[in-house]
Symmetry: C2
Subunit: 163 residues, 2 copies
């Protein structure tokens, strides 16, 4: 069972590939798509679409877990983030990958048991919850692991997918 | 010179195909992509992507004019509309179609000379500004004509594209 966790954004899309083997969550790979601020939004969005397709082709995840937006989280950045998220959802659908969505509060609640946990608190528990050779340093990539864990911790999700 | 005007949305994407011939704006075709509320957002977004590609293949526009979002326009619907807009921008970029963007206020200003014009006022001027056989009835489609006109009324845009 392999899930891709995705933290969407126009400037940075964090992603991680988590394998669930014998009940353990193993960080197989992780990284980010970073787009150039000097380019047009359309060109950055198409780059995200192309790169996401490459990542899916490479890792062939059985499911995707992606952050769901909350409009009052940050009004100024919500539009570009939503535009990037739309592109990512469409790529996942094109590849027939089942999609699971969690709001930032749900992610914090499910990972730390506390909906208002800090980024550091989430990162600490993420590091204890997965086996890894190298832990990424970028916040967005660590967030994508937390998002992936929301999915793969839930046995009901795994049963539904029959894997 | 052919421009596609696009009014983005998750439930309805209005579009119109405007040809500029001898200084006249001619409504060649228009319509809408309408997605089913009972489906997932990802599936609706992918439907928008596929249908936009079909429309581009059919009409081969030289340029695209699309509404740009303003986050305080309608906070509750801005996220799904932005997600749909992201998908549309990516399709346009993939097809190497130059993109021009106008906020709702700019559209009203450019069409009626008044940034707070009503939908009816915009629609009335749209009807006087294009030659047409049939005027669409759907608001979103009429809006897409107004958006297309913002582009095609501007001779500087046409010169830049060398058409």
């Amino acid at each position: 069972m392999r899930v891709i966790g995705i933290d969407p954004g126009l400037a940075i899309v964090g992603y991680s590939i988590i394998d669930k083997i014998n009940g353990e969550n193993i960080l197989f790979s992780s990284g980010s798509i970073q787009t150039d601020k000097s380019k047009t939004d359309a060109s950055r969005l198409y780059e995200i679409e192309s790169d996401m397709q490459t990542i899916i082709d490479k890792y062939k995840p059985n499911a995707a877990s992606i952050e769901k937006l909350f409009y009052f989280k940050n009004q100024k950045t919500v539009i570009p983030v939503a535009e990037a998220r739309g592109v990512i959802l469409s790529v996942l659908e094109k590849n027939k990958i089942p999609i699971y969505e969690y709001t930032p509060i749900e992610v914090k609640q499910m990972i730390t048991g506390y909906g208002r946990a800090s980024k550091d608190e989430v990162a600490q528990i993420v590091k204890m919850s997965v086996k890894y050779k190298t832990m990424p340093k970028l916040d967005d990539t660590i967030d994508s692991i937390a998002i992936a864990l929301c999915f793969s911790r839930n046995e009901i999700n795994l049963e539904k997918l029959n894997v």
